[in-house]
């Protein structure tokens, strides 16, 4: 598995460039988030006529799209270079092209949001119509990510050619699955942006089919969240075992769970459209069933994680039912941050099952419960795992070492994050059950007694948001230190080894023709009939509106 122990300097530069952009996005997007929670407490108004919805759009785009995509691609470049060998000049060249396209696209998108020409939120639902520059910027981000994806595929193909009939390195395999998932799903958003939104915002066509656009968006929107989650799972499966000094529980089960994610995370977009007109209830239910299937690989992952920890603890002489917990390296931020992320995935997963069950969705749809949900999944589980990875990845790439003081600060950061999020997300969940809507500025809805009940929860959200912002400042201090100021030295890029008792991985798991065929077949089964229905029974299209 260990082709090279160290990521090549030139590949490190490419990975670091992505990670810098990611953390700049975190700083700006985090500030926007703080302002939102303060506005919603009802005790604070934004200065200089800045719109709540401009801030909200900035927050969603920077954290949901930019932070994630840049960190993920940077991390995957490093992981593939580390496990499948240094990139060729050509692969690296295309990696840089991808990086610059994404960066230019991000700058363009951010520009049009900040001048108030695109307060359409990060879901940009038609017929709200943003400036064409907003859609073009997003297109560049997606195209850039595709180029980086193909760079990874090319490198993987070369490895396979040079190592016939060998199983690929686990991290490389996982990165390839994630980029295949990303490619297949982002075709949907590319289709609605290029075929529908861009020509319509340029005035080339007058009207747009709103439901088709939303359906293409959500065909992309749910696998998007798995595109965020899978790199966290890569770190859990393949890197955390090495950090704690244990072994990977099972290489083949890890791969199987990734394959199941590829199959089941795409044909499930209707579970975001359960309250929607124009879609037959039968097809909604079909996708609800498929959505539940995507819970299975997460159930497998939960088992694998606990098993990794227990096997390690027992090898160190732990006894009793939970004695192994005491043997884990609680003082090591590289373990502690992702571990807290894992714990938060338990309520996150529970909430996800609620969201996906169509009658329960009626209770929570578009309430702030949903915001609370993805601040557990993305903003805690995924983000804390990424922070934990940054604590070794950045010094590895920058040729530095993390000091004890920084490690201690990182432990504090994790605790601050957990407390802040417990306040914010917890109160969001409860307020959501009482009906408080998401994506809305402060309002008492004409002093409605029902809306007045939400205010204490909104104040708790502001308290949580403030604590989380302190967490963001802490992580930025740590990351800046690791990138530029920490003492020079060698930091390990940990890559786990498979337990001796684990079975050898079947080569059939890399039969891409088969994997992609099954993926496409499931998508066709879930979408073909309702999608044709939507087009055949389409109402007159919609003109664009700029209502902000």
């Amino acid at each position: 598995m260990n082709e090279t122990l160290k990521v090549d300097r030139r590949d490190a530069k490419l990975a670091l460039a992505h990670i810098y952009v990611a953390f700049i996005a975190l700083a700006l997007g985090g500030l926007a988030g703080l302002l939102q929670t303060l506005v919603r407490s009802g005790k604070f108004t934004l200065p200089a006529n800045i719109s709540y919805y401009t801030i909200l759009t900035t927050h969603g785009v920077l954290l949901g799209l930019v932070l994630t995509t840049f960190f993920i691609i940077g991390f995957q470049f490093a992981a593939v270079s580390r496990t499948a060998g240094t990139f060729s000049d050509r692969v690296r060249f295309w990696g840089w092209i991808g990086f610059w396209l994404m960066t230019i696209g991000t700058a363009m998108t951010a520009f049009f949001i900040l001048i108030g020409e695109a307060s359409v939120l990060y879901t940009f639902y038609a017929p709200l119509q943003a400036h064409p520059g907003f859609y073009l910027g997003l297109t560049l981000v997606v195209v850039g990510s595709w180029i980086s994806g193909f760079a990874i595929f090319a490198h993987y193909a070369r490895w396979k050619k040079e190592h016939p009939s060998q199983v690929s390195p686990l991290l490389t395999f996982m990165a390839v699955v994630n980029m295949v998932l990303w490619l297949v799903c982002s075709l949907g958003v590319a289709a609605t942006v290029l075929i529908q939104l861009l020509p319509w915002s340029l005035g080339l066509v007058d009207r747009i089919n709103v439901l088709v656009s939303r359906t293409l968006f959500w065909y992309f929107g749910h696998p998007l969240v798995y595109f965020w989650l899978l790199p966290a799972y890569m770190i859990w499966y393949a890197i955390i075992p090495k950090i704690i000094g244990g072994k990977i529980f099972s290489d083949s089960l890890a791969r199987l769970s990734f394959i199941l994610f590829l199959f089941f995370s795409i044909p499930v977009g209707f579970h975001h459209q359960l309250m929607e007109p124009g879609v037959e209830p039968f097809w909604k239910y079909v996708q609800v069933v498929l959505t539940f299937m995507v819970a299975i690989p997460s159930l497998m992952t939960a088992f694998a994680m606990f098993a990794t920890f227990e096997m390690y603890g027992r090898s160190k002489g732990a006894t009793g039912l939970f004695g192994w917990l005491r043997k884990l390296p609680w003082g090591d931020a590289r373990f502690f941050a992702p571990f807290v992320g894992m714990l938060f995935f338990i309520p996150a997963g529970a909430g996800g099952l609620v969201n996906a069950s169509h009658q329960l969705n009626q209770v929570v749809h578009n309430t702030i419960w949903v915001t609370g949900h993805f601040h557990l999944t993305l903003a805690t589980t995924v983000v804390l795992t990424f922070f934990g990875a940054a604590y070794w990845l950045i010094p590895h790439l920058s040729g530095r070492v993390m000091t004890k003081a920084m490690n201690r600060l990182a432990i504090i950061q994790t605790i601050v994050w957990a407390i802040g999020m417990a306040f914010m997300s917890g109160s969001m969940h409860f307020a959501g059950l009482l009906g408080a809507p998401r994506r809305s500025a402060f309002s008492t809805y004409g002093n409605s007694p029902q809306a007045l009940e939400w205010i204490p929860y909104q104040i708790a959200q502001a308290v949580g948001g403030t604590i989380l912002f302190i967490g963001i400042i802490l992580v930025l201090v740590i990351v800046t230190n690791l990138a530029f100021f920490a003492p020079k030295g060698e930091t390990e890029f940990p890559v786990g080894e498979v337990a001796e008792t684990a079975e050898r991985t079947p080569l059939a798991m890399e039969n891409w023709k088969l994997l992609i065929s099954i993926t496409v077949a499931l998508i066709l089964i879930a979408y073909t009939i309702p999608f044709i229905d939507m087009i055949q029974n389409a109402p007159p299209g919609s003109k664009g509106y700029k209502l902000w």
Binding site: L253, M275, E276, P277, A295, A307, T367, S440, S448, Q450
Partner: protein, 156 residues
Amino acid sequence: MHIHKYEKIWLIFGIGSLFIFLTIVGVSAFAKGNQPPSGLTTIDPEKVDQTPPFNKPGLVKTGDNEYQLNMVASAFSYTPAQVEIPKGAKVTINVTTKDVIHGFEVVGTNINMMVEPGYVNSFTKTFDKTGEYTILCNEYCGAGHHMMTARIKVVD
């Protein structure tokens, strides 16, 4: 592929639970009619004001204790903004929009619909308790989104 015995137990339990959840919502939806709002009627969004029943929005009695409540959403209000419903009435709410996407949530109930241009969305509910309910827009629709609201009063 070899799977640890305990993992098999866990997966059988976990997947079994998932199927029980699916059965509960499936039976409730298909046998008892608790389907999510999925209106399939289309309408020209620019001619809502001329299209019945939305040319005269409001509450209409359609049968013994049965009513239709036809509502129009537009940035940033609902028409009508106040509705009185007699207690115990079974009301089918039909709602459509003249401009962008809106939400239609009746706080504290299971009424929660997406309102999209070109479609009429519907949901039926019996109002058993007297009191006041807040209707609000829960899908972002523009600068005045959080001001978009209406009231339902259930009276004896």
